[in-house]
Symmetry: C2
Subunit: 240 residues, 2 copies
Amino acid sequence: MNEQSHFRIKCSECPIRHRAVCSRADDAELAVMEGMKSYQTYKAGEPILRQGDEMKFVASVVHGVATLSQSLEDGRTQVVGLMLPSDFIGRASRAEAQFDVAASTDVTLCQFERKPFAQLMAKTPHISERLIEITMDELDAARDWMLLLGRKTAREKIATFLSMLVVRHGLELEDGTTPRLALPLTREKIANYLALTLETVSRQMTALQKDGVIEFTDRKHFNVLDPRALQLATGNGEED
Amino acid sequence: MNEQSHFRIKCSECPIRHRAVCSRADDAELAVMEGMKSYQTYKAGEPILRQGDEMKFVASVVHGVATLSQSLEDGRTQVVGLMLPSDFIGRASRAEAQFDVAASTDVTLCQFERKPFAQLMAKTPHISERLIEITMDELDAARDWMLLLGRKTAREKIATFLSMLVVRHGLELEDGTTPRLALPLTREKIANYLALTLETVSRQMTALQKDGVIEFTDRKHFNVLDPRALQLATGNGEED
DNA sequence: CGATACCTTGACCACTTTCAACGTCCGTGG
DNA sequence: CCACGGACGTTGAAAGTGGTCAAGGTATCG
């Protein structure tokens, strides 16, 4: 199922060195973490954890995208978090997974056994301080998302989602249009993230294209033709 | 506007002593916090912070209920968090309020100046460890709420809300029915919490009463006549 | 006793979902 | 190399849920 990855990155050369839970660790602390960590990789689509599973590890996402999701018994599901590189999965003080976690793209995790990590945290304020910030950032993001889920229309949700992709890639050009962007998820996954159906996602994307706001080059790639119109369509107002 | 409260509680006698951010502090640490804290009270309905305000303080809720909320420019509003006693407001590392905070009932906060608190945290793992737990609990709660906002029907939302009130008060009786419970919020506030309109809140409560699940004694008080039916109406399945 | 805020109910409407059919892309194996 | 199959995506028509607008009812506090 899950294949143990064979590469080991040195912490000092790790792509998330400056943002992850270890970002404030000094050389001595880093050496300790270096000795505790292990890597694990998951293929796109693979489950990483199911709600209720025992968690022996906590982990940082090194690369790839994982989703946290939750379901009702009849199958309705809601994505409740996107885990991007440097995000942190699990809690030192709890052994049970609260959500389903799945690899959305190929994912590499940097894992630490839970109990040794808890001990390390107790001795290393640099780590717990950074973990507080990471967790509070996720909490703020979750609360922003609640406004979208509760109060935005389908068109606003789609525009917000596309706008996020633009911002995330930092690709706004002076002259207006943006370079071609990739949609990293299927229509169904976008629907589960935005609390829509896949049909509505499809229709609203088509509508934004008809209105000249965006343009699809193929199913997975689009250009923003009118960034200002896209921003207005998010419902957030002129600036954000 | 905000009146400085005149009472001072000793930390050792504080009602949230065992759950708040200070819960793991030892006597020496508590003595330091005792010297840093101040109390502030707010009347029901009063604003505590507006999004974008400068925050000089972080604070624990001592008693009362505060709401975090967020709005779109056209006035649509979503409550994104209920702050109950022992919950923590603000971040040591950020000066700007991310959300509107308002007192829902009369509220007392135990406040600490931000910068001294940040320094204290750096020196006191007991505090930062507990803050991580509090923050992660809120994150889990926010994610649970996302499932409700995104995927539950109006009836399920109302049933979930009423069910929460039952659980929170720990009042389930063996024989089925429960003692009279108070609705702590107006229909409008409930609507902003559940992402509905106040009319829909009213209609769904009436519907649950017609179906014999609950019974209103007056506008602010109800009995649960059929706890099992209420549980089923939440959409969470038989057990939860 | 009147003013005001809160709540209920009805009629109508809009938006999103549901259900269904069809289209497109892509990898696998004949 | 092409054909097939399966996953993914689009579009249409109909239905249903919740929202909007409007009117009237009820509680509470001067």
